[in-house]
Amino acid sequence: MATVVYAVGDDVSTDVIYPGRYMATVLPSETPQFAFADDGAFNAELRAGRISAGSVLVAGKNFGCGSSREQAVSALKGYDLVIVAGSFARIFLQNSINLGLRVVSAPGVAASAGDELAFDGASVINVTTGTTVPLQELPAARQAIIDAGGLIPYTRTLLLDRNRAVSS
């Protein structure tokens, strides 16, 4: 069971998740301080450490639209949030998988802050409201990257395989 700590609407852009003026900050160790930087209350909650790891941010459709900036993902990953959205923008989804931010795509999902969610592998159950929506499975290629622990270890394995093939 996971608690929804924040609920946002449709088309939340990476400009809202990680405003452009902080783009000079790139390292995953430094980006979390600017997560939702223009949303004073939520940013303060995050920075104060009042949001526990595994908490859920619920969004409507097209979450993470706009810029490809990876800071939007590393900033949320820094708090180990789980993002449950009606749908994700393509680059944000790929960045999330590459960096290991937990994302759940569930068209029609609805929840408010404070709701308790449960995941059974096939659906998202809002225990508070008693509603269930099916989740969308990731394509197999994406699942392989998640299983490897992210794109960096996945690429490292392929690099070593390639070098072994060249030298043998």
């Binding site: 452009g20 459709k61 790929q94 690099l159």
Partner: protein, 397 residues
């Protein structure tokens, strides 16, 4: 292709090699482009230090397609790549920038990726986390009315598709309007395909592609025109006639919130922006210069102009467009991305409103979460600069 965020790509690239015993070498230094454009010249010591790190990496790895902060070779990546002949029909282009979709204008398959994905590309020469997209065929017919053009077409199309209507799809442009459209307009269309969620936009290569590659991009070697198969399968086909199209404006705070200019005429503007990877090309600057020549920008508004590249800047100088704009009261800035995304110059004050030829109007986009951004064509922006309010260019300002 990467820009300043190559600093992050380098970080991730080095991490891939950690513990492998392999020397970190990029897969092919001649097929990697790095263009500084987002914060040029550096707005902070932090950015300057990151740019320095990238320069050192470029030198050590012998990366050839590097465009530093220069008036001759520099500019915005989505203009620098095409005008230097780096983009060819049928090529696969990935960039750590969502507007990499632009390069589909030359018949390439071009899409945005994140920095870690790019580290993987630098290592292996392959993008690993990519799906095969379906294709939506967009058939555009008719002649644009006066003061209406490619920007109005793409805004009206985004409104029709919605902000995520083309997610995991490619928009492929066909029709007589597209065949007659110069490369500049095609770049505008493909640039904004991502605003409908699309993986990429694409204009199949044709005579105009060849003209651009030969005459403007200086490509001498043989070029294969890659075009769709006659029996290509499309998920859907959308037909659009531009004959009756009005100038379009995308209203705050989503790009698909589009209205005809007549619906928002009279809206007070604090800052006009003409330029960017969307509308900073020579014909865009010409459209603005024609309106402003011998006239004055309203004193109730500030007008910023930033050409898409150093080359375009020089062409605009030679043709007198820069003189027209400066004499009218516009501030001409160096090519770059800064004002569009609120990272470098041109930030909005609290509750201020901008009218801009850029590609995004999200909340906070121009550096202030209480600001508002309207998006439009150079013709609408220039006409509005004279009045200080959103103005219909067809009304003979």
């Amino acid at each position: 292709m990467s820009h300043e965020n190559a600093a992050l790509v380098i970080n991730q690239f080095m991490e891939v090699f950690e513990g492998t015993g392999c020397e970190p070498r990029v897969w092919d230094p001649e097929r990697i482009a790095i263009i500084f454009d987002h914060r040029v010249p550096a707005e902070s010591s932090k950015t300057a230090t990151n740019q320095r790190k990238v320069r050192e990496f470029v030198g050590a790895q012998r990366i050839t397609k590097f465009h530093d902060i220069r008036g001759d070779l520099g500019g915005i990546c989505h203009q620098v790549l095409p005008e230097n002949g780096y983009v060819r029909p049928g090529a696969v282009i990935v960039g750590t920038d969502s507007h990499t979709t632009s390069h589909g204008a030359l018949g390439a398959f071009a899409f945005g990726i994140g920095a870690t994905e790019m580290a993987s590309v630098w290592t292996l020469g392959a993008a690993l986390n990519v799906e095969v997209p379906a294709t939506i065929k967009i058939v555009v017919t008719g002649a644009f009315p006066r003061h209406v053009g490619p920007k109005d077409l793409i805004l009206s199309l985004i409104a029709r598709l919605t902000a995520n209507g083309a997610t995991f799809r490619v928009l492929e442009f066909h029709g007589d309007t597209i065949r007659r459209m110069p490369m500049s307009g095609r770049l505008t269309l493909c640039n904004m395909a991502v605003e409908a969620g699309a993986t990429s936009g694409c204009v199949p290569a044709d005579q105009e592609t060849m003209r651009y590659l030969r005459n403007e991009a200086g490509v001498r070697e043989q070029v294969d025109l890659v075009i769709p198969d006659l029996d290509a399968v499309y998920e859907r086909v959308l037909e659009i006639s531009v004959a009756g199209l009005e100038p379009q404006v995308a209203c705050p705070h989503t790009v698909d919130n589009v209205k005809p200019v007549t619906a928002v005429e009279g809206t007070k503007i604090d800052q006009i922006v003409i330029g960017s990877c969307t509308n900073g090309r020579l014909d865009d600057l010409e459209a603005a210069a024609r309106v402003l020549r011998g006239r004055k920008v309203s004193h109730s508004v500030r007008m910023l102009v930033f050409p898409a590249s150093g080359r375009i800047y020089r062409q605009a100088l030679e043709k007198g467009f820069i003189n027209d704009l400066v004499c009218a009261g516009a501030v001409v800035m160096n090519p770059g991305c800064g004002p569009c995304l609120g990272v470098h110059q041109g930030a909005l004050g609290d509750q201020e409103t901008a009218l801009s030829t850029t590609n995004r109007n999200f909340k906070g986009r121009m550096g202030n979460p209480t600001g508002s951004v309207y998006l439009c064509s150079p013709a609408v922006a220039a006409a509005s600069a004279l009045t200080g309010v959103i103005t219909d260019p067809r009304k003979g300002i």
